[in-house]
């Protein structure tokens, strides 16, 4: 009994996040719009709740924004137009992938900078390590053999 309960818990843990999405039915005029609806609703952040996208959130404002998203998609708006509409009202905050501007430049550049810094460190360590691994001189080798013999003998 306890084992099956554990199994259920574990299976919850691995359930895809999509399962938690709010269940709502919209009738899309084309499957393409539906795909874009799902992509955009997962990329737009709910202004009211901390770190939930509008697809997952049950907050009234998220519901309103989903309606707006649906209506705009059906009206033929492009992704850029919809994002611009949202940003004009709620700021870059609503985008999980904000545009590159003065505030977000570091955010966007950080992975590349960190990668470069990391690579630099690795290269430096490797060079240093190479020096350390110089072969022992003849006298050193002798010394080691003598010490080992001493210990084993």
């Amino acid at each position: 009994m306890r084992r099956s309960a554990l199994l259920v818990l574990v299976s919850w843990l691995f359930a895809p996040a999509v399962v938690w999405a709010v269940i709502e039915t919209y009738q899309f005029s084309s499957p393409d719009l539906e795909v874009r609806y799902h992509t955009l609703s997962q990329e737009l952040r709910c202004p009211k709740c901390q770190n939930q996208n509008i697809a997952d959130s049950n907050a009234p404002i998220a519901r309103d924004l989903r309606v707006v998203l649906y209506e705009q998609l059906e009206a033929g708006a492009s992704d850029e137009e919809i994002l611009a509409y949202m940003v004009a009202r709620y700021g870059e905050f609503v985008r999980y992938r904000p545009g590159v501007d003065r505030n977000t430049l570091f955010l966007w550049a950080a992975p590349a900078l960190l990668l470069i810094a990391g690579a630099g460190l690795v290269v430096r360590q490797a060079r240093r390590g190479g020096k350390r691994a110089e072969p022992l001189s003849a006298t050193e080798q002798e010394e080691i053999s003598r010490l080992l013999e001493e210990r084993n003998g």
């Binding site: 901390q50 404002i61 004009a88 709620y90």
Partner: protein, 184 residues
């Protein structure tokens, strides 16, 4: 070369500074995208009179636009302070946000009406254009009809004196108006 020893310390200090700064940042505070822009245009019914009003009706500024609803508990907490502000002569316009207009009219009858007029925004459309994400919110609109400031949450004396009073210089610092009215 000895400085190198202090590299971890320097790293720690930088990180600690960053995290300390993080403590004082309110993650729920959103940038107000509409500040500096004209109040979004709309055509809605006025809550009590039923006549059609537009953004032109929210004048003359400077004035407050208070976003409220009967379902919003914090709005009830805020309400007495709005009445006090209105009594001091601060013009307040209401945006009755995603509310039942019947209930909203009852609320104003029972608790008092601090508003010059109220936009009946049952669908939340004006709120959406304004970037409202919850009630209560309070905006300052200037004499030019532009949005000057937004406050999210309950407006009280402390907030008004800190962030709002500069738009209403004649209103003086609240509390002292009645008592020390003579010296100004």
């Amino acid at each position: 070369m000895r400085l190198k020893r202090f590299a971890p310390l320097l790293g720690f200090v930088l990180l600690a500074g960053l995290l300390y700064k993080g403590l004082s940042i309110d993650p729920t505070a959103l940038p107000a995208a509409r500040v500096g822009q004209p109040f979004p245009s709309f055509a809605q019914l006025e809550l009590t009179s039923g006549r059609e009003i537009t953004e032109q009706s929210l004048s003359p500024g400077p004035a407050l636009v208070n976003v409220w609803a009967t379902w919003c508990y914090s709005c009830r907490v805020e309400h007495p302070y709005l009445l006090a502000l209105a009594a001091r002569g601060v013009p307040i316009f209401g945006l009755n946000y995603k509310d039942d207009s019947v209930k909203a009219r009852e609320w104003l009858l029972q608790l008092g009406d601090p508003y010059r007029l109220n936009v009946a925004d049952e669908q939340g459309l004006v709120g959406l254009d304004l970037g409202v994400y919850g009630a209560p919110e309070t905006y300052v609109i200037g004499a030019d009809g532009h949005i000057k400031h937004r406050h999210v949450g309950i407006l009280d004396e402390g907030v008004f004196d800190r962030d709002f009073v500069k738009w209403f210089p004649d209103m003086g610092v609240s509390g002292s108006v009645g008592a020390e009215g003579g010296d100004s």
